[in-house]
Amino acid sequence: MKVKVRYFAAFREAAGTETETLETAAVSPAELFVECAKRHQPLQKYSASLVAINDEMADWEALISDGDEILFFPPVAGG
């Protein structure tokens, strides 16, 4: 299936792109993030903190469907 991926802040800089469209067999955002970090080595030193699917906050183990837009959020600003 085809999904759209969007990277924010430090992730955008690490991936060298803001958005990309991928052909993937990943079933969850967690699996997809591992794939993305293989494509963009600098992403490997990060752990993602939050994820959204089609503008709704989502679980890392949610199921992704063809055509979904997955948003990877680096850890937020915090304290």
């Binding site: 924010f8 800089e13 490997q44 030193k45 906050m57 680096p74 850890p75 600003a77 915090g78």
Partner: protein, 144 residues
């Protein structure tokens, strides 16, 4: 009045406060996040907030609603700045008004604590030595 907003311009604090005025309320608690001149030993010159606004606003309003229900306060609002900012500017403001003060303190703290961990908002600091860093990404890196 209950709302969460994002602003690319300096926040008008008098107007912000006015939204929360309520004759049935005896207590008002406000939290401001100010741009600090240092962080972890580095001298900060300015900073930048990146916000994914569609989700930040949706989730921000959810946090406000939770606070209002959980602590039974009358009014709660928050505004977060987006973009570049200089020292001492107000990066975020949270205001809560309520008949009594205990609930107003609790709700205000809940909103800012939750906002810091749940909203898609990232802070980049620009240092005196010319470097710039996305804050917190060092700490949470798998390996450095």
């Amino acid at each position: 009045m209950k709302s969460f907003g994002v602003s690319t311009h300096p926040i008008d604090l008098a107007a912000f406060r006015k939204q929360l005025q309520d004759r049935s309320c005896g207590a008002y608690v406000q939290f401001d996040g100010w741009v600090r001149d240092h962080n972890e030993g580095q001298q900060v010159l300015r900073l930048e907030y990146e916000i994914y606004e569609p989700l930040a606003v949706k989730e921000g309003n959810r946090i406000i609603t939770e606070a209002v229900e959980r602590f039974a306060v009358s009014n709660a609002c928050a505004i977060h700045r987006s973009g570049l900012m200089g020292l001492s500017e107000v990066a975020v403001v949270v205001g809560v008004s309520s008949p009594h003060r205990g609930e107003a303190f609790d709700a205000c703290r809940y909103i800012i604590d939750q906002a810091k961990v749940r909203l898609p908002i990232w802070k980049k600091e620009y240092y005196a030595n010319g470097n710039a860093e996305w804050v917190n990404c060092q700490r949470c890196a798998h390996a450095v």
